[in-house]
Symmetry: C2
Subunit: 111 residues, 2 copies
């Protein structure tokens, strides 16, 4: 490592991407490509396709998301994802855990 902050930043994001994807989808169902674009707009928080698509698959396998193919009049077929009841519960627990960790981090600041 040394000056390579990028690889550390990746570690800091572990698990967060899943939470963000669930959060984005809890507002409205979206398809993978749109989620990637959405996350890109979300501050400097970037998560490419190579990150998002595997996450979507895992979340679906775990029963936290369900997917549905839709064919628009023109353009490529889109796979829309929606949050399940289990997914919503999981998101709530994740946010609690996140805040707990955050309070631990901030409690040490400027000590």
């Amino acid at each position: 490592m040394g000056g390579d902050f990028g690889s550390y930043s990746a570690q800091l994001r572990k698990g967060v991407i899943q939470m963000l994807v669930l959060q984005v989808l809890s507002t409205e169902p979206l398809y993978g490509y749109a989620i990637v674009k959405r996350l890109e707009e979300l501050g400097e928080f970037v998560a490419g396709e190579g990150t998002v698509y595997p996450v979507l698959r895992r979340l679906e396998v775990d029963g936290l998301l369900v997917s549905e193919w839709q064919q628009p009049a023109d353009g490529n077929a889109r796979k829309y994802y929606s949050v399940t009841v289990a997914g919503a519960a999981f998101l709530a627990r994740s946010l609690e855990e996140w805040k707990r960790i955050d309070s631990a981090v901030r409690s040490l600041e400027g000590e």
Copy 2:
């Protein structure tokens, strides 16, 4: 996974432990065992010896910490760790990154 929140929680902590260790040490030099105890008191944020010692080693290899053996009058030898200049800079960048991610997480909440 499924109901196994523990393994997810572990992912959410990736990278955070390093940041917390650096934060704790930026106040005063401490030895490994004391750091473990300190983190245990820090809310419900638990990181056992099996987690902390490898982290200390990695941080030292990366030049973010330096260690020094000290032999107390009674008891076991203790390895004290201090934050280097590079470590302090690294900690600062980590905190920035942490806050950036946190703002992304919170900005989506209750949308």
